[in-house]
Symmetry: C3
Subunit: 139 residues, 3 copies
């Protein structure tokens, strides 16, 4: 019979970019006595997102960061929502084409990630932030 | 022990853009006697999507709408799938880089959204549509 | 009471593009004696993704494929992560703006897809690959 468990964690980001959180998620999982099922990670923010991506090569990470910055450039004449600076409205845009939550399979309490997969928090704001994540486990 | 509940709702969209559905989702939840767990919202269409985004400032919403229109412009020479008009093929493209379903944590029957988060249906077609959503609750 | 079931399948892709896997997923589901709940499909790779999209018209599929290739072009001067060829880093970029997992509602063991929806594996690498998928069912 499936059970539900839920916890919240906070991640301190030093500013814009991909920040690996696999270890922090695994630590929270260990406390939840997980079985086989699904783990949902949900970020309670609209200017940061979650990503499962290449874990090994730092050039892959830097290319991804540069890619998103070029796909959604700041300082366009038609931008209106800029109360918090030039990175304000683009942070929401970046968030809208990436994930607010990721759902990952579990087997016997372990994340069934592929060999090269890690879990990242993608901070879209320039400044350091504290981001709240909800972890919900079914299984 | 986790239980499963499921219901379907319809959303009438007046045409292209972001339409807030948080209230409609919460009303359906109230009927489902939810506990703690996950709510999955799934849209049964390929030319509209779901988004969790900035709830407060209308300029954020307008910037997001303009952003997606500029990222995926109509009337490109290489577009082929245009049976239903110039907004046909681009609607599928927009749908492919946004979400067909969103999964949101619940605690004691309430959506654990962040302070600024609302749930939106993103209509990509120009004309008004009736869109079918499946809500599945585990917990 | 909700139960959890899990299985793994492999999909052989002939190379870059959208490959329909609805039939393979339905075959796996039939073996799992599913009820009402959710099916999560998770791809254990960072250079391929999953998509629920237009099932009927082949021009829609070709437009989507061309769209993603134009949105994330190869051979840009700022690309660094190219150990496995010009399609290496762009595969991760394409993966980062599409889905690593999809969650689909089930009723009485059947996928509650819309009339025009099919499930696709989106291969971003040029070469043929064998891709591993984890199917987790709650319900």
């Amino acid at each position: 019979m499936a059970k539900t468990m839920q916890t919240q964690i906070e991640v301190a980001t030093p500013g814009q970019g991909l920040h690996r959180i696999t270890g922090q998620v695994e630590a929270a999982l260990a406390d939840m006595r997980a079985g086989t099922g699904l783990l949902n990670i949900f970020i309670q923010h609209t200017s940061a997102s979650l990503l499962i991506q290449e874990n090994a090569d730092p050039t892959a990470k830097r290319d991804l960061e540069e890619f998103l910055g070029r796909l959604v450039p700041e300082n366009q004449s038609w931008h209106r929502h800029l109360d918090e600076g030039p990175d304000d409205t683009v942070s929401h845009m970046k968030s809208s084409i990436t994930a607010t939550s990721v759902t990952i399979p579990l087997r016997d309490g372990r994340l069934l990630l592929g060999t090269w997969q890690g879990i990242y928090l993608w901070e879209h704001r320039r400044a350091a932030h504290r981001r709240k994540l909800v972890l919900t486990l079914i299984g």
